[in-house]
């Protein structure tokens, strides 16, 4: 009981939010790194996935990437990226965390985009080509819009995962909300641990909600609600 009211006190104290190590700046840092990493992951994974899906090739790669995504722990990537980052003079903290998060987000985005494009009804693709669309027109006007629900879901799931995983950065000296967890554990401060956990969870849920709200504008109209809700994702 005491712990909960202490946590509440922590959130209600102005000093907890301000300053260089306050909640506000750590939340902003956390969110900024997460969104940046997700965006870079999408930028890297989307084009090859779209093209391979369109060509209906590379199923092996898609499956392999999911498995790698499932098998390799993010912490392992952080550990791997750390010495490289140090050698390159990029320092502790930000860059190794960033690399780990990009690596975390890429497989689900790649795989879902690939299968989303590949699984567009072949009759529709044939009709589009049969009408006289060029290859690029088929991709742009037909395959991409019809795969949007699947791609959108993948980006959403990746973002949530990245926000949750970005706490890892604190282990190697980066800021963000992970600091409360790491420092809390180190100093036996349960209030920090719990407060940090609550903030990360809230951020992830908010991001998820934001994606759901944005769906209305992002997804093409005309796709029945069935098409939308049955969107499956292979994200871990």
């Amino acid at each position: 009981m005491n712990l909960l009211s202490d946590v509440l006190d922590f959130f209600l104290t102005a000093q907890s939010w301000t300053g260089d190590d306050g909640l506000l700046i750590r939340t902003v840092d956390h969110l900024a790194l997460s969104l940046f990493a997700t965006m870079v992951a999408v930028a890297l994974a989307l084009p090859p996935a779209v093209w391979l899906g369109h060509r209906r090739r590379g199923a092996f790669l898609a499956v392999a990437l999911v498995n790698v995504g499932r098998a390799v722990p993010s912490f392992g990537i952080v550990a791997l990226a750390l010495p490289i980052s140090l050698r390159l003079g990029l320092g502790l903290g930000f860059w190794p965390t960033f690399v780990a998060l990009v690596a975390l987000a890429m497989p689900p985005v790649f795989t879902n985009t690939y299968s989303g494009i590949r699984e567009v009804d072949p009759a529709i693709v044939e009709a589009a080509a049969g009408m006289g669309m060029t290859d690029v027109q088929v991709l742009r006007t037909t395959e991409l819009p019809l795969a949007t629900p699947v791609i959108w879901t993948a980006v959403r799931v990746s973002t949530v995962q990245v926000i949750a995983t970005a706490t890892l950065g604190a282990v190697i000296g980066w800021g963000g909300l992970g600091r409360y967890l790491i420092d809390g554990f180190a100093q036996g401060n349960d209030v920090w641990v719990l407060a940090g956990g609550i903030m990360v969870a809230a951020l992830a849920l908010l991001a998820d909600a934001a994606f759901t709200v944005a769906e209305r504008w992002v997804l093409p109209r005309g796709l029945s609600s069935r098409d939308r809700s049955e969107v499956e994702t292979v994200a871990v």
């Binding site: 044939e126 080509a129 006289g132 005309g222 029945s224 098409d227």
Partner: protein, 381 residues
């Protein structure tokens, strides 16, 4: 433009100048398959006609169709569409001049009916007002309500979707239409209606149509010519439905046409194609003797009563007693056959009538009498 036909692309004038589509020794062998799907197929489709490709599964009918717009690339042979060498033309350029309708409709689910129909005009770069006008025109042409223009395909019935598919194929007014089992996925009642509508539509637009089906009845109903293909893309026979039914070239064709070939022929011949005999007809007031002579000539035991081009009814000779033929209290002809009816419908009327004859009318005017014998004579001659 790199899609202009080369000099060699001009078809030899000696070959049927009317052929809108011509396949010359076309073959297709799919990778990894030993036997060709289509073997050395030559075929001509005259301008403005419907040619139906029909045959069992594996006969290469769909493959043949898809080679015309190069969804499938032929392994060998030449294909000419509207005088242009299809093989030497960029596929997307070729396809914009060929309407394409497929069984699963292939409508774009994320686009409205109007946007679907506008697909090819937009690809061709028409201006906005022309596209809008054309869309309205086509939606009406295929018998859809104007307010459907803003709906999405998922909000339409199967039959309506297929109409949109046809409208989309016709949008840029292509000379050629390819239809791949377009009515295969709709229920029989809607299918029958769509078939009739297609013929009505064709009477207006006069496109050159290649139509693929596995349904021989559909082929007979729709085709100006029917091409019967056998497994491996072998053309067994091509001809008008009547020619095929009258003289199937071989055992395979005969079997594919079915054991009710004679009946199928009947469904192709309209009643007015026959010289109608007036039948055993007498005027009111005719004597019993007169009636007996007329009835005997037709070997029946009844006479019909006609007055001034109007058929009043009929009666058995036995009902005549000793008097004269009356003008009232006659048995009615229940089935009044229109001159535009088919012989199949006529035969149905005959076998279900007690007089074993069907009276044929042009509106109210009596044209003559048809019997089963007369029909049999017609198709065995």
């Amino acid at each position: 433009m790199n899609n202009l036909p080369k000099l060699s692309a001009v078809p030899p004038r000696s070959a049927m100048p009317d052929a809108m589509i011509r396949l010359e020794h076309v073959s297709k062998t799919f990778p990894g398959s030993a036997a060709p799907a289509v073997r050395d197929l030559s075929l001509e489709v005259p301008e403005g006609e419907i040619v139906v490709l029909v045959g069992p599964s594996g006969c290469g009918k769909t493959t043949t169709l898809k080679m015309i717009n190069r969804i499938i690339e032929p392994t060998a042979g030449d294909i000419w569409v509207a005088g242009v060498n299809a093989i030497a033309t960029e596929p997307h350029v070729l396809r914009r001049q060929i309407g394409y309708v497929i069984q699963q409709t292939g409508l774009f689910p994320h686009r409205t009916v109007a946007q679907n129909v506008a697909t090819v005009p937009r690809l061709l770069g028409w201006d906005r007002p022309s596209i809008d006008d054309r869309v309205v025109e086509l939606i009406e042409l295929v018998g859809l309500e104007p307010e459907m223009a803003d709906r999405y395909p998922a909000e339409l019935s199967g039959g309506q979707q297929q109409r949109v598919g046809v409208a989309r194929a016709l949008a840029a007014d292509p000379p050629v239409l390819l239809m791949d089992e377009p009515f295969g996925a709709v229920d029989p009642i809607i299918r029958a209606r769509l078939q009739v509508e297609l013929l009505g539509l064709q009477a207006q637009v006069r496109k050159t149509i290649v139509f693929v089906t596995h349904d021989i009845d559909e082929a007979i109903q729709l085709g100006d010519q029917v091409a019967i293909l056998n497994v491996g893309g072998v053309l067994e026979q091509i001809g008008t439905p009547e020619d095929l039914l009258r003289e199937p070239a071989n055992e395979f064709v005969a079997e594919f046409l079915g054991t009710d070939r004679g009946l199928k022929r009947l469904s192709l011949i309209p009643v007015h194609a026959l010289d109608l005999d007036p039948g055993p007809v007498v005027a009111p007031g005719a004597s019993k003797q007169e009636s007996l002579v007329v009835a005997e000539r037709y070997e029946v035991d009844w006479v019909a009563v006609e007055s001034g081009g109007e058929l009043l009814g009929w009666l058995y000779l036995a009902e005549l007693e000793n008097g004269r033929v009356p003008a009232a209290d006659l048995r009615p002809f229940r089935t009044r056959l229109a001159a535009t009816a088919t012989l199949k419908e006529a035969l149905n009327a005959i076998v279900t009538s007690r007089a074993k004859a069907a009276a044929v009318f042009d509106d109210d005017r009596y044209l003559g009498m048809l019997t089963a014998d007369r029909i049999s004579d017609e198709i065995t001659q």
